[in-house]
Amino acid sequence: MIAAILSLTLLGAALGLLLGIAGRYLAVEGNPLNAEVEALLPGTNCGQCGFPGCAGAAAAIIDNLAPATCCPPGGKAVAAAIAERIGLALDLSGVADQGPQIATVSEEICIGCCRCLKVCPTDAIVGAAKQIHNVLREACTGCAACIERCPTEAMSMRPVPVTLQHWVWPKPAFA
């Protein structure tokens, strides 16, 4: 009886000590997932998700404060990648992904104020003072930061037209 109690107590103490040591020496500073998820996000810090930059969004997603689908420019693709990385079941069929969008300038309204190009996180808008601006299609991430800045509402978001090369077969509807 005494032997049993003693041995169990010893066992408990030894294991507890081991755990304590392991906890101290094998501790990981910060969540390594944060950096990985941040790498999956567009990295333009556009702020559309409502968190401070992509790092903030990554932390929020991991802490379950935001859904994996919180990044509008990233769309379905980024959401799926994040969900896969953090092992989250994600029903993407419900995500309203209007497809990738880019900003466009209505040339007849643009007054060449240069405000939009200052806020563009990827320098995708080109133009000079009193000259009509234009958006570089390849560089625009569709973050929509410029839309608010335009004093004449010359900026608008338009979906990127689907081309033959980018067309995707729909998933079979049945079964």
Partner: protein, 501 residues
């Protein structure tokens, strides 16, 4: 199939399927030639690779065979005017593709004269340097005519470099309904053989094996006769089994060699060309004629007069069908290509392109009903798959959006031949699942590249802003220092030298 054959075929593990070929009577009807339509819509992208760049202007007069667009990049093909006339537009036409999305095209109004441009042929192709043959084939815009439409010149010169030993001539034509290659071999066997000899010369291959499915005895006979005089060309009948005309399956059957999964035929010392392509190569070398027309099969239960027709590239399907006396019943499904891998057409106002092997108008009786049942895991698809995949497992993963799982099962090795869906008793659209997954994966890949580019741009911008701020601060500091110095200089003149040093 006889009883014993059936027994033996059931014992072994055999890839592929045996669809009812339905090639006759269309295959036995004589070839007709379509008169030149009033307008031709010549797409700039009729091949695998980058679209060609137009080299003509609207309003310009062109002659038949004159280039209207030049290749761009490594893998691309030139496009030529299929007839003489005027370029009336460089705009868009619905692509012969189920999406019905637009495709850039040069519209030519025929002048009715059908006058050829000046062409440079060669009376002795075997005196031309092999590399030069490749260049001339490229100039003629020849692409693979079996359906994939890969630029032929790229294959020819690549094979010359890889020192291939065997040229395989694909006369398999395993797709049901289609008979344009069959017809070509029956009617123009001598030209095919001449094309084979030119290709042998261009690639340095020593032997040519002509693989023809044994359901085309006339073609086998005609080709054997034509090739008799040339010991290096051997006609090899192969069993009629779909997809025998698929490159890797034909190589395996004829040479016993297996092309590595992501490799090319040249990895096993082989080059494969379709018979139609070789005739186009011959035309390009002997007469300098670019690829501006092709033989296509019109077939299907709804077609009034099935048969093979010589059609200029860019002719609308609508006009081709009208030339063949139209439909005898409303087609239940319109296809470009064969029933196994062909594409559904949105409507008839799409152009015939270089890779068009046939136009099928299937009647209601020929179209498989679509009422998918749940998968009963019967494994028919596993037995039918010519690549050795597990189609049911792949589709199952794709259905739950697990694309990487599907890739792990070999999605990228799938050749989309359709054997699995052809035999599926539950009629699950397996190929559509695979197409969908591939499209999604490609879209994700593109999105990733875009995101990376955006990240770089954002970093560059951040750096620029920082640099500008730093430079501004430095400039301000400098100005301040200068001002201070000037002030000091104004007071005691002796310190001026120190401040400006």
């Amino acid at each position: 199939m006889g009883f014993m054959e059936r027994f033996v075929s059931k014992l072994g593990s055999h890839w592929g399927v045996h669809p009812d070929d339905r090639k006759r009577p269309a295959a036995d009807a004589p070839v007709r030639r379509m008169p030149m339509p009033a307008r031709l819509y010549v797409p700039l992208l009729q091949h695998i690779g980058t679209a060609a760049r137009p080299t003509v202007l609207v309003g310009q007069q062109v002659l038949k065979g004159q280039p209207v667009a030049e290749p761009q990049g490594m893998v691309s093909a030139a496009i030529h005017a299929p007839t003489s006339g005027t370029v009336v537009a460089i705009g868009e036409i619905a692509a012969p593709h189920p999406s019905g999305l637009p495709l850039a095209a040069v519209t030519i109004e025929a002048d009715g004269e059908d006058r050829w441009a000046d062409l440079v042929g060669a009376s002795d192709p075997f005196a031309i340097d092999p590399l030069e043959i490749g260049k001339r084939v490229a100039r003629a815009g020849v692409v693979g005519m079996g359906g994939a439409a890969f630029p032929s010149a790229v294959k020819l010169t690549g094979s010359l470099r890889a020192k291939i030993a065997t040229l395989i001539v694909n006369g398999g034509e395993c797709e049901p309904y289609l008979s344009c290659d069959d017809r070509l071999m029956r009617d123009r066997a001598a030209e095919v053989v001449d094309g084979i000899r030119i290709a042998l010369h261009a690639t340095g291959a020593r032997v040519a094996l002509v693989g023809i499915e044994d359901n085309k005895p006339e073609a086998i006979a005609a080709m054997s006769r034509a090739a008799e005089a040339y010991g290096e060309i051997k006609v090899k009948p192969v069993p009629a089994r779909y997809p025998m005309g698929s490159e890797k399956q034909l190589i395996l059957t004829l040479t016993g060699r297996e092309v590595p999964a992501t490799g090319r035929p040249s990895d096993v010392g082989v080059l494969v060309h379709n018979v139609g392509t070789l005739v186009a190569v011959r035309e390009a070398i002997r007469f300098g004629r670019p690829l501006v027309s092709r033989l296509i099969t019109l077939n299907g239960g709804a077609m009034r007069a099935p048969g093979n027709i010589e059609v200029p590239i860019g002719a609308l399907v609508e006009e081709v069908v009208a030339f063949a006396n139209g439909f005898k019943e409303a087609p239940a499904r319109l296809l470009m290509g064969g029933p196994m891998m062909g594409m559904q057409l949105p409507d008839l106002r799409v152009p015939v392109v270089k890779g068009t092997s046939g136009i099928l108008a299937l009647g209601a009786a020929e179209v498989a009903e679509r009422e998918p049942a749940p998968c009963i895991r019967c494994g028919s698809c596993v037995r039918a798959c010519p690549v050795g995949l597990l189609p049911l497992e792949m589709a199952h993963r794709i259905a739950s959006a697990d694309f990487s799982g599907a890739v792990g099962l070999g999605l990228k090795d799938c050749i989309a031949c359709g054997c699995c869906a052809y035999v599926c008793p539950a009629r699950i659209p397996l190929v559509q699942y695979f197409n969908h997954a591939r499209g999604e994966l490609a879209a994700r890949e593109r999105a990733k590249l875009r995101a990376e580019a955006a990240r770089k741009l954002a970093a560059a911008r951040a750096e620029r802003i920082e640099r500008e701020a730093r430079e501004k601060a430095e400039a301000a500091a400098r100005r301040k220092a200068e001002r201070d110095a000037a002030r000091k200089a104004a007071a005691p003149a002796t310190t001026t030298e120190e401040a400006t040093a």
